[in-house]
Amino acid sequence: MVAWSDQERSIITSIFSNLDYNDVGPKALIRCLIVYPWTQRYFASFGNLYNADAIKTNPNIQAHGTKVLHGLDRAVKNMDDIKTTYAELSVLHSEKLHVDPDNFKLLADCLTIVIAAKMGSGFTPEIQATFQKFLAVVVSALGKQYH
């Protein structure tokens, strides 16, 4: 089981309590779709994704980005058992959505860049290390029910 120090818990809750989920969620998802274009394959039913501007203004992408951040919020509130918290989500992504689990890491990387750009020099190496540890646990939990 993953162990969290008090400092790490405080860093993660502090980062998330300062986020506007409606802003950061869509930004991370949009970035992922532009930087790693093959991820667009999962959003074929979302409408126009033909270019960066279309992606940035697509309301379905906006809504989904926000949804993803609210999903992350559940992990923040259950840091000691993210694996169990995400069991159903993992099954959903594996059996229904058929998402290649490698893509979880790509979205996590894009979220890291969004947070880095937001926090600027406040995104210190120690904070980066803690944030990446948190996202690594999330990514692992999402992949746990794949077989």
Partner: protein, 147 residues
């Protein structure tokens, strides 16, 4: 061979112009050594590299930061044929320093995050995509002499 559009060349140069070599040279090591601590194995003779303060004040790391960024500068200025120029660097890292080439990718990620903290909203999705394409080419060039 990697192909670059005029737009991509402009973007890479534009990002690079905003990089302060002295400032970023130590920050990238701080991120790499704190976030991926196993990298410490390559710096046995560098003295204290175990806290952010020690890292940013370490003269050997500062000097090495300048060396790395000056090599990146060569790649920016010779974007069409730096792979050949990097052959001896690659051989040195393979035969003499014995660096696991996966670490080139980790260092590249730390460089991107350092730049994201500095450039913030300017590192928009399209700029990030182009910058990462450039760094992937650099990582590939650094790995080219490994067998």
């Amino acid at each position: 061979m990697v192909k670059w559009t005029e737009e991509e060349r402009r973007i890479v140069r534009g990002v690079w112009e905003k990089v302060d070599i002295d400032e970023i040279g130590t920050e990238l090591w701080a991120r790499a050594l704190i976030v991926y601590p196993w990298i410490e194995r390559y710096f046995g003779s560098f003295g204290d590299i175990f806290t952010t303060t020690a890292i940013v004040n370490n003269p050997k790391l500062a000097a090495l930061g300048k060396v790395v960024l000056s090599a990146l500068d060569t790649a920016v200025k010779n974007i069409d044929h730096f792979k050949a120029m990097y052959a001896s660097l690659s051989r040195q890292h393979y035969e003499k320093i014995k660096v696991d080439p996966d670490n080139f990718r980790l260092l590249a990620e730390c460089i991107t995050i350092t730049i994201a903290c500095k450039l913030r909203a300017e590192l928009n999705p399209q700029v990030q995509a182009t910058w990462q394409k450039f760094l992937s080419a650099v990582v590939e060039a650094m790995s080219s002499q490994y067998k």
